[in-house]
Subunit: 302 residues, 2 copies
């Protein structure tokens, strides 16, 4: 059965990259293996970044060399052209790159100007086109920047046009800090869908302010059918103490399935992976979709 | 400044009624006093039910006799005509009554048939009309029943017509067990708004499956502007272990305000009430709107 909504599982990357507890390669491998059999369509396995900068992601090349033989699209995040080449050498044919929508976020995140970041992305996209690799181009802080505040949708539209001209396999609009609201999401994503169609668009939400699923729903209403999420809602950010992580995959699956949209995901398999993940992290992880499995009657007044 | 969205705070009733920890009258009084100064428009202070059945709500008449002098609409839940008369004797001029949309839920909840429950509601609404009291009529399990499963929207529409003919001050569509999805919410509430207009309609959501705010947003999109919520997301249900409670008032406020909709609520005052509530319950309560107060920068990749 074809899926109605494509879910890109990012727990092994966006979920783990900010954890104070660093998983071993064997644990990351186990997580990938458990997620690979859930029916998820896409899986981001890690990133090819400096192990000094992000030790949690060291050894992603090893993981890339022993991917489970499942019909998934495996991918990895790369920070720049060098990372792209490392990923490609490791056999990864779909990479994600992130460019921030604001000057200050680019400076803070990768110490490059907005102009330099977009030039890097252009160069990487051109290389990938020549190589036949697929690129998911992420427009980070596309709704609100922690340094510059609300981002003008006209700026995002203009940046989206620039990136789309370089033919990424997907343009992902990312609410990096979990500050978007569903009305803004619907407005922006509707404008993007009207201009580019839904096929090459995706969304990436964090649940920092409890609006994660509302934003997913708003994007679905706008026609978006490709979403990032992390098993167990793993994620958060070391620079925003206590911040919640990505929208939980199990919650996104439950939302979609309850609205009659097929995700292809086996909930018991997914919840099993979330349980393992909780053990590895040493803290309970999880959205609230375990209620999918519960069958309690209840008798509350309203 | 007039509010765009009316929030009816139900923590002192729907929040406390299912808590294993029973608050003292003094604690409940303190909670009401703290909530009364937050700028909330409406406050449900408790219920006039048998103290044997729901000991958490014993003494609501005492609370009713010492309400803070604030410009709020205070109300209470009543289970039947007797409860209505007790509330009225205690000086409460706005009461809530709950009728469940399904036969089995009425039987399980109040040991009456669907027909008997609606007859009781009709009688109560007629009395209130004669007395000049306002009634919020709740249609419970309006999306899904724990015993009968999905509820046919045509049945709900028909029941809504019946109740609206009795002229309640408000008809509240309640997702009692937190099983609604935003697409169904938008469809049903749009139909109701088309037929009755938004002025006398409200929604009551629980966050059991993480879709609480998505459902609030969907109802807002349908034109609904009156919502129940509980400070701290208090609630849950003794018959669904671990179930999350009502949508958290602070999350609903944050959702509305982030979309430019004025609720009149002072977030610092509300979060202060949530903190007190957590102390009283002996467990941390709270949605995620404390991020409203945080101002952390962050530098996550996406």
């Amino acid at each position: 059965m074809a899926v109605d909504v494509i879910i890109k599982e990012v727990a092994p990357r966006d979920g783990l990259q900010a954890q104070p507890k660093h998983l071993t390669l064997e644990q990351r491998q186990q997580l990938i293996e458990e997620l690979a059999v859930t029916g998820l369509t896409e899986l981001e396995i890690g990133s090819f970044v400096s192990p000094k900068a992000v030790p949690q992601m060291a050894g992603t090349d090893v993981l890339a060399s022993q991917l489970p033989a499942q019909p998934l699209d495996y991918s990895a995040l790369v920070p720049n052209l060098k990372g792209y080449q490392l990923a490609r050498a490791a056999g990864i044919n779909t990479v994600a790159i992130a460019v921030a929508a604001t000057e200050q976020m680019n400076q803070a995140n990768i110490r490059m100007s907005l102009e330099q970041t977009f030039a890097m992305a252009d160069e990487l996209l051109a290389s990938a086109r020549a190589d036949g690799s697929a690129v998911h181009a992420y427009l980070a802080v596309a709704f609100e920047c922690p340094f510059e505040g609300k981002v003008d949708p006209a700026v995002v539209l203009s940046q989206a046009r620039h990136l789309m001209a370089q033919e990424p396999a997907r343009l992902v609009i990312a609410d990096t800090i979990g500050a978007a609201n569903p009305r803004d999401v619907k407005t922006l994503m509707s404008a993007l869908v009207a201009e580019f169609g839904p096929e090459r668009l995706g969304c990436h939400f964090h649940d920092t302010r409890a609006m994660g699923l509302a934003n997913v729903y708003a994007a679905l209403e706008a026609g978006i059918v490709q979403f990032d999420s992390a098993a167990g809602g793993l994620g958060g950010c070391p620079f925003a103490p206590g911040a919640k992580g990505n929208v939980a995959t199990e919650d996104v699956v439950l939302l979609c399935e309850s609205m009659g949209l097929n995700t292809g995901v086996s909930m018991p398999a997914l919840l099993s992976a979330v349980a393992s993940l909780s053990d590895m992290i040493g803290a309970p992880q999880g959205g609230r979709a375990h209620y999918w499995l519960s069958n309690n009657s209840n008798r509350c007044a309203s």
